[in-house]
Amino acid sequence: MKNLLLIILLVGCFGYARATETEKIKIEKTLKFATPSPDNVLEIYNINGSLQIEGYDGQEIMVTAELTISANTQALLDKGKNEMSLGILEDDSALVLYNKAPFIHNERIEGPCNCHWNWSKDVDYKFSFDFKVKVPRGVNLHVRTVNDGFIAIDGMNSNVSAHHVNGDVTLTQMGGSVEARTINGELLVRHTKAPVGGNSYYSLNGDVNVYYPGEPDADITFKSFNGSFYTDMERLEVMPPAWTKEVTEKNGSTKYKLTQKNNIKVGKGGNLLAFETFNGDIYVKKSK
C-alpha cells in the first residue's frame, strides 16, 4: 500500500514536471554565396531535430528553421527563447548554420576546446531545430545532427557528408560522392551516377541499403559484426582480404594491431566504396 502511494506520488510529480510550456519559432533566411564556386559548402551543425535538404536549380539557399523550445515554467521558456538562436557564419566558401547558445561550444566556429557541458545542469529547457533547406544542386553539404529526427537529402550533384546519431539517414538522387553515417538508424542511399572517387557508408545498429544505377566499377570493402553483406551485382570477384597494420605506443607498451577487411572487386574496380555496420546488414543493389 505504501509503495502504491509512493508510485502515485512519483507519477504525480512526473506529471507535474511534464506539464510544459512550448513555443515554436519559425526562422526564415535566404542566403547566397558571395563567390559561387565548386568548393562552396553548406555546413549545418544541429543537435536536436531533423534536416531536410533538397537540391534545386536555383542560386540561393533558402532556409526554414523551426525552433521548438519547451520548458516547465514560463520563465524558463523565456530564458530559452532569449538564449537559443540560429547561428549563421559566412566564410570564404562556406556557409555555416548552427545552434547558438551560451552552453553550446561549436568547434567549427570557436575552435577546439576541452569544454564539457552538463546538460542537466546548464540546460533547463528543451530545444530542437527542424531544418528545411533548399540549396543549389552543386553546393557541397556537410551536415550533422544528433537527436530527435532524421536526415533526408534529395537531388544533389555535389559531395555530401551527412552524420546522424539517433536517427535515419536517407539520401536520394545523389549525383556526387557520399559519406554517410549514423549510429542508431537505417542508412539508405540512392545514387543516380556511378561513383567517382570514394564513398563510405556506416551504421552501427541499422541496415545499410545502397543503390547504384547498373554495376559500377568499384572496389568494395565491408565489415559487419553481426550482419552480412548482400548484393545483386554479378561482375564480382572476391579479392584477398586487405590487411592493415597499426602500431601505437603508450606508457612504455607498444600495441600492434592487425585487421582484415573484406574486399570485393566489381567490374574493373577502382572507386573505393567502404561499407561498415555492427549489428546491421549491408545491401548493395542495382536500382531498377
Binding site: 565491408f222 552480412s228 584477398p240 582480404p241 597494420k245 607498444t254 600492434y256 585487421t259 582484415q260 573484406n262
Partner: protein, 273 residues
C-alpha cells in the same frame, strides 16, 4: 573432429566455386614485434577461443606472429537471403599484440573467426597459451615456464625445457622435455586422452599418477608407493557422502618435486630419454 574439418573444408570449396575467389592468398599476415630488452627472457601470452597455436623457438630477437585466418564457421542458420541477391559472408580477422617489458600479450577476435597463429619466439621464453575449440597447441624448442591449456584438442611439445603445466579435456598430451627446472612442480592432466611425457634420464621427481580407466606405464625405475585411499566423509542434512581418492606415487631417481599425471579415459606414459 576430422569429419567436421572435412565438412567445413567442403563448405569452403563450395564457397570458392560459387564466386571466383582469390581470398586464399590474403588470409595470412605476419607481424614482427621487437622486445624492449632484446636477448633477455620474455613471456608470450596468447588466448584463443577457436583455433590453433604453434610456437617455435628460433635464434632471433623478435617475436614474429603469423596470423592465418580462415576455416571460420559461416553460420548460415536463420539467414534469409533476399531473392535475386547473393550473400557474401566472411569474417575478417583482428589481432592485437601488446609488448611491455618483454611480455607480449596477444588478443584476437577468435571467438568469431577460427584462426591459426604461427609464432616464433626467442628460445628462452615463458609461454602462457590457451585455446578452446578447433585447434591444437604445438610448441617446439622453447625453454621456460610454460602454462598451456586446451579444451577440445591436443597439446604437443617437443624439445622444450624448464617446467610445464599442461591441461586439456578432450585430447592427448605429448611432451618431450630436454631439460627440467629442478625447482618447479609440473602437471600433465587430461580427461579423455593419453598423457605421454618424456623426461631426461637424470630427472629427479616424485610422480603423482592416476588413470581412472587406463594404465600407467614407465621405463623409469620408480619406487612405487600406493597411497592408502584417501577417504573423505561429509554429511549434510542427514545424507552421507563418501569419496575415495586413489593415487599412485612413484619416486624417480630418489624423488624430487611433485609431478602430477592424470587422465580419466586414457593411459599415462612416463618415458626416459
Amino acid at each position: 573432429m576430422k569429419k567436421l574439418i572435412k565438412l567445413s573444408f567442403i563448405g569452403l570449396l563450395a564457397a570458392a566455386i560459387s564466386l571466383p575467389a582469390k581470398a586464399q592468398e590474403g588470409n595470412k599476415e605476419t607481424i614482427a614485434i621487437p622486445l624492449s630488452s632484446p636477448g633477455e627472457k620474455g613471456k608470450l601470452e596468447v588466448g584463443l577461443v577457436n583455433g590453433s597455436i604453434n610456437v617455435a623457438g628460433y635464434d632471433g630477437k623478435d617475436v614474429i606472429i603469423e596470423a592465418v585466418s580462415g576455416g571460420g564457421k559461416n553460420d548460415d542458420r536463420g539467414v534469409v537471403t533476399p531473392t535475386g541477391m547473393k550473400r557474401i559472408s566472411s569474417n575478417p580477422m583482428e589481432l592485437e599484440a601488446t609488448e611491455k617489458g618483454n611480455t607480449v600479450k596477444v588478443s584476437t577476435n577468435s571467438w568469431a573467426v577460427t584462426m591459426t597463429l604461427n609464432i616464433k619466439v626467442p628460445k628462452n621464453f615463458d609461454l602462457k597459451l590457451s585455446t578452446v575449440n578447433d585447434g591444437d597447441i604445438d610448441v617446439k624448442g622453447v625453454t621456460g615456464a610454460h602454462e598451456i591449456s586446451n579444451v577440445n584438442g591436443e597439446i604437443t611439445m617437443t624439445q622444450v625445457g624448464g617446467s610445464t603445466v599442461l591441461n586439456t579435456v578432450n585430447g592427448d598430451i605429448k611432451v618431450t622435455l630436454e631439460s627440467v627446472n629442478p625447482e618447479a612442480q609440473m602437471a600433465f592432466t587430461t580427461l579423455n586422452g593419453d598423457v605421454d611425457v618424456t623426461f631426461p634420464a637424470a630427472v629427479k621427481a616424485t610422480a603423482k599418477m592416476r588413470s581412472d580407466r587406463g594404465d600407467i606405464f614407465s621405463d623409469f625405475d620408480m619406487v612405487i608407493e600406493k597411497s592408502a585411499p584417501k577417504v573423505d566423509k561429509s554429511s549434510s542434512n542427514g545424507v552421507y557422502k563418501v569419496s575415495i581418492e586413489d593415487w599412485v606415487f612413484g619416486k624417480i631417481n630418489g624423488g624430487g618435486k611433485e609431478y602430477l599425471f592424470k587422465t580419466m579415459q586414457g593411459d599415462v606414459y612416463i618415458r626416459k630419454k
